[in-house]
């Protein structure tokens, strides 16, 4: 007999034929773990998003895994344009330059035609590289009506000391194409706007007008541009003891290319604080971001405590700190409750300005996008999950999110003192998740 020959592979395939007949057809569906979720995100008076996620994982045996994900996002509602509120109503043209609408006195101008659907597809393959290491490769695709992204990534993980320590390194590249409606605006070119009072606005504070006459004033510099991102990531996962696990990550991203938001503007105000005109913003075409992340998970008798801190900094001078904590409380063998608290704080980009002053030289770069300004945000949430009799999992999540932009030291001229330049954004997040 073939003493020296390894017969396990032949035996394994014979076993498979014995126990799993007709495998070819059934096995394609069997062995898939599917995770579906539906999420609602609603900001007061602003953006509403509905996100559907279908993720599937198939185990091909021998630790070879395929993970696929499809995400469909639908965004509707209004988002801040960057223009400042005024004591009188103001008329603002649409992002595309086609049409205009009126903003109530004292209110932050929002672009109310914000509506988009994003479709994202991800695929990832993981397999062992040796007894103690694995490689993962992935592909990413996403498309919106004005934004396309294609990316790929690869990573390597190596276990040490009986899998108590895992070191990993990864590289990702993505290429994005931005094709704004109406073309790319010329930086600091004037976007048509007029101040004045309009009588016939509706309950929402907006009124639609035929604004074709405004269109010709907008300057456009082309129809599309692109951006590339390279991410480098290092990770260390360490089992501290039977109950505690720690993870450290370090990452660097280099972004090159069009980083301006083509729909955002800045108000040019005079020394009484009155808007004279709106100009398109401009951001540097390169950005280098660095982050460090530390996470600890601790198994308690009744659940799991999870705490993480993330520090990020970049050459736009946006520094941020994120504290995130979750506590899983097992209510029974098959159900749990998980409170969630997250605190976020960031400093303003060095070229952030809530407005520009009339008569002063234009800076090289400027944005009034509150997302690049100084702000704090927090999230409070609760999740309830349960395992059903058939082994499937169902969970519900409800969270409250508040973003509070802050003045990073700018003095407001004249009437701008009387309007809220830094309104808070409040949102509710509701999610249902089903795993089978």
């Amino acid at each position: 007999m073939k003493k020296t020959i390894n017969i396990t592979a032949a035996l394994a395939s014979a076993t498979c034929a014995l126990l799993h007949p007709y495998a070819s057809a059934n096995d394609m569906l069997e062995g898939w773990k599917v995770d579906t979720s539906l999420m609602y995100y609603g900001e007061t008076d602003r953006v509403t998003a509905v996100e559907t996620v279908i993720a599937g994982q198939k185990d091909f045996g021998d630790e070879r895994l395929f993970t696929g994900k499809i995400v469909i996002d639908t965004l509707t509602g209004a988002s801040a344009t960057g223009a400042v509120a005024q004591l009188t109503a103001q008329t603002v043209s649409r992002p595309s330059g086609q049409g205009s609408y009126t903003v109530n006195a004292g209110e932050t101008p929002l672009d109310n035609t914000f509506k988009d659907t994003r479709v994202q597809v991800d695929g990832q393959w993981t397999q062992p590289w040796s007894d103690v290491s694995r490689i993962t490769t992935g592909l990413h695709l996403s498309t919106e009506h004005d934004y396309y992204s294609l990316g790929f990534n690869g990573s390597y993980a190596h276990d040490f000391y009986n899998k108590n320590t895992t070191l990993s390194g990864g590289l990702a590249y993505s290429y994005d194409v931005i094709k704004p409606e109406g073309g790319l605006p010329v930086p600091f070119s004037t976007k048509t706007a007029s101040t004045g009072y309009s009588e016939d606005y509706d309950d929402d504070g907006y009124i639609e007008e035929d604004g074709d006459d405004n269109y010709a004033n907008d300057e456009r510099s082309g129809s599309s541009d692109n951006k590339s991102t390279i991410d480098v990531l290092f990770g260390l996962t360490q089992v501290i003891n039977r109950r505690m696990l720690m993870q450290f990550n370090l990452g660097v991203s280099q972004i090159n290319g069009y980083s301006t938001d083509p729909y955002k503007v800045l108000s040019i105000v005079n020394d009484q604080g009155l808007t004279q005109s709106l100009v398109y913003e401009n951001r540097p075409d390169s950005r280098i971001k660095t982050f460090a992340f530390w996470q600890t998970k601790y198994a308690l008798d009744f659940g799991v405590a999870d705490f993480s801190y993330r520090f990020a900094t970049d050459d736009w001078k946006v520094d941020s700190h994120t504290f995130d904590s979750r506590l899983r409380i097992n209510l029974s063998d098959s159900s749990y409750l998980q409170p969630h608290f997250r605190y976020y704080n960031q400093s303003a980009a060095e070229f952030f300005q809530p407005f520009l002053m009339e008569g002063q030289a234009l800076p090289e770069f400027a944005t009034a996008d509150y997302r690049l300004g100084e702000m704090t945000a927090y999230t409070l949430g609760l999740k309830y999950g349960m395992e059903l009799d058939n082994g499937d999992e169902l969970s519900f999540r409800l969270e409250y999110y508040q973003q509070s932009p802050k003045n990073a030291g700018f003095t407001e001229p004249g009437t701008l003192k009387d309007v809220d330049l830094y309104p808070s954004v409040k949102a509710v997040i509701a999610q249902v998740n089903y795993r089978f």
Binding site: M1, K3, I7, T15, L18, P21, D333, N390
Partner: protein, 305 residues
Amino acid sequence: MEIGLTNNEQAAFTMQHKSDHYCGRFYAMASPCELLIDTQDEKLAKQLTSIAQAEVIRIEKKFSRYRTDNLLHQINHSQGQSVIIDDETYRLLQFANTCFELSDGMFDLSSGVLRKAWNFNGSDQLPSPELVSSLLPRVGWQRLRFTSNELIMPADMELDFGGIGKEYAVDCVAKLCNQLAPKLSVVVNFGGDIQVTCPRKKDQSWHIGIESLQGEDLTAQLLHIKAGGLATSGDARRFLLKNGKRYSHILNPNTGYPVEDAPRSVTVAASHCIQAGLLATLALLQGPEAEQFLQNQNVQFWCYR
């Protein structure tokens, strides 16, 4: 499949609530059968145990060589005529065929006829060499002819699925449990042949006692198992002892005699119970080289001599 069924085929199972799981027990295939179920849901535990019991009884009925009303009896009394077989039987024959080829003829489901000479009852009654050599021509898997729907076996031969039956039943029951409760960890343990369907919820190990021989003593060894199959083969109870020489119940189908210098007991871990069982049996057939054989298979094993 060592002992036929009594009239008490549908004997009830027992159900015990342990600290963090349920344990269902029944007796079949001449072995104590046990299911450890990682749940607090008694109804589900009862349902799984009942399904397991029905499946074991089904397999035992179909393939036991002690019955006169089943397919195996039909095959063993076919007098060289073609017998219609079903898909499950075909798959078992295919599997046995692969094992026959992989073992260079050492694993042979037609070798059961040698039991007419050997009775491993712990006594010193060795058969006469004439009897053994008269039976040898009746052993020979290669003389079988089968397709996916019929089998032709020479009249003087006998088939016996005993070498893989219990392990097959373990895997079938594990598969049913996995279909009914896909993420529930269930230990299927039929007299030491074991399959764990999937890891437990909190990823702990199951602690399972395995009977093994240490010197002359039968001891229970505690194994920690998270998932996969485990099987033990050995001569704990079935052997002959004459002039200080121990004759293991593992017969070499080429000589008609027990394999010499085989370990007393071999336990193997593999992804499926039937694989583990086969590797354990094939290791015993290697006699003195059992450990070397298992090392070459890259599997976890425990050998006792």
